[in-house]
């Protein structure tokens, strides 16, 4: 029966919150899944993730934001509050902010995984962000690959959609260590054209999804944060 076949194969999806993106990925990110958002400095990775969490908070989906940057929440809020979509009241309850930097300095993979697991079990989020994951690589060094394997494996079982951000040097697409273990990769490009820097978004990989393969021009606006523009290149 056709209806039964559909019951079996259809993936649950949650809207990304990023205007213009969901129509490129069949309506949203697969739920649950782990998605890498990769790009150089200034491409809008954190803004992308905040929009994702705020979209969830507006739908009463619990969010959990892990930072690896040792940045106090009020500092992050100070800059992000400039966006219209940001509601400071979300932070604390609907979006829980967790700083992993102290644990990271000890460089103990098991303790870090345990802390992430414990916080997820406490908060029971539907949306998780780890921003940026690449800092963990610098701290864990030799343990990084096994950490990523364990982390992504556990995240997939927590029944949440997780965005991990990866910062790459200009010209690089994504951090290769994590690319194979995530379910999706969204690239944010920054290129120089006629003396200007222009930004593009590209969906490189999205498992179970018939996604767009083009580069799409993006803009970052006060009102909506990161926006995927209609024109395609």
């Amino acid at each position: 029966m056709e209806g039964n076949e559909r019951d079996r194969t259809r993936l649950e999806r949650i809207p990304s919150g990023v205007p213009g993106l969901d129509e490129l990925i069949e309506g949203g990110f697969p739920f649950p899944s782990v998605i890498l958002v990769s790009g150089a400095a200034g491409t809008g990775k954190t803004t992308f993730c905040l929009r994702f969490l705020c979209e969830g908070a507006a739908k009463r989906e619990q969010g959990l934001f892990f930072t690896t940057l040792s940045e106090p929440s009020h500092w992050m809020l100070r800059f992000s509050s400039q966006f219209d979509f940001m509601r400071p009241e979300y932070f604390g309850d609907a979006i829980v902010y967790e700083d992993l930097s102290v644990l990271l300095r000890h460089g103990d993979q098991d303790k870090l995984l345990e802390a992430i697991d414990r916080r997820i079990a406490e908060v029971m989020p539907q949306r998780i962000v780890i921003d940026p994951i690449t800092v963990v690589g610098e701290m864990l060094k030799d343990q990084y690959r096994s950490f990523l394997f364990d982390l992504t494996n556990r995240l997939k079982h927590w029944n949440a959609t997780t965005l991990v951000t990866g910062e790459v040097p200009p010209g690089e697409l994504y951090p290769p260590e994590i690319a194979h273990s995530v379910d999706g990769i969204v690239l944010l490009h920054l290129t120089e054209e006629y003396g200007d820097r222009r930004k593009y978004l590209e969906v490189l990989k999205m498992r179970g999804t018939n996604h767009s393969t083009g580069k799409h021009s993006i803009d970052i606006s006060r009102k909506e944060g990161l926006v995927v523009l209609k024109a395609r290149f």
Binding site: N4, D7, M124, H157, N159
Partner: protein, 212 residues
């Protein structure tokens, strides 16, 4: 658990009673809310220590055990049946009484396996079991045809339903066929707190949303 979860817990306790009433029951939950609702539901089913079964078909049982531990919910009365761990590449260990089953694609063999485990006195006594909760049963449709899953539910309920609350959690919007199959087998609906309130208000105002 926050205040909303505790209200949901009280709501389930009111519907289930201190010792859950026997029979097949189904709860309509959005897929994104499964983890939270199943934890609250399991807390309500355990109550003051009711013996029961938790069958994991979507993720290794350790994740539910971890949640129970984190939220201070005593689970020594619960036997976990894990159908997915051997495929999950997980290394997390949690202390719980658990039986491992040979994969969700063999789910139709679970009733006879339970009968066997119970008869061999391996720490699980079917006759004492007061509830059986299966997590995200629609996930079985990934590994089995619809008819096989229906047959499993019927046989599982035939095995336990006379003295045990057999509770299934399904996203009705995503899996309407499965949800209605359970109702057609005589299953009754558990309701979320918000849904109960809506229905109460609607019945007072004579509104019928026609969700059945």
């Amino acid at each position: 658990m926050n205040a909303r979860d505790m209200r949901q817990y009280e709501n389930f306790r009111r519907q289930l009673g201190p010792v859950p009433r026997p029979g097949l029951m189904v709860l309509d939950v959005r897929t994104t809310q499964f983890v939270v609702v199943e934890l609250v539901l399991l807390k309500a089913l355990i109550g003051d220590g009711n013996p029961g079964l938790f069958v994991s078909v979507d993720r290794p049982h350790q994740y539910m055990v971890h949640l129970l531990d984190m939220h201070g919910i005593e689970h020594t009365s619960v036997t976990f049946i894990d159908t997915v761990s051997q495929f999950a590449a997980t290394d997390t260990c949690r202390q719980a009484r658990v039986g491992f089953f040979k994969g969700p694609n063999n789910i139709d063999m679970l009733p006879s396996a339970l009968r066997e485990w119970s008869s061999k006195d391996q720490g699980f006594d079917m006759a004492q079991c007061r509830f059986a909760l299966i997590d995200n049963i629609s996930n079985l449709l990934t590994f089995n045809g619809h008819e096989k899953v229906q047959r499993f539910i019927r046989e599982f309920n035939d095995l336990l339903g006379d003295r045990t609350a057999v509770v299934l959690v399904i996203d009705r919007q995503r899996n309407p066929n499965l949800y209605h199959s359970v109702l057609a087998m005589g299953g009754t609906e558990l309701m979320l707190e918000t849904e109960l309130k809506d229905r109460l208000m609607d019945s007072e105002e004579g509104i019928d949303h026609g969700r059945q």
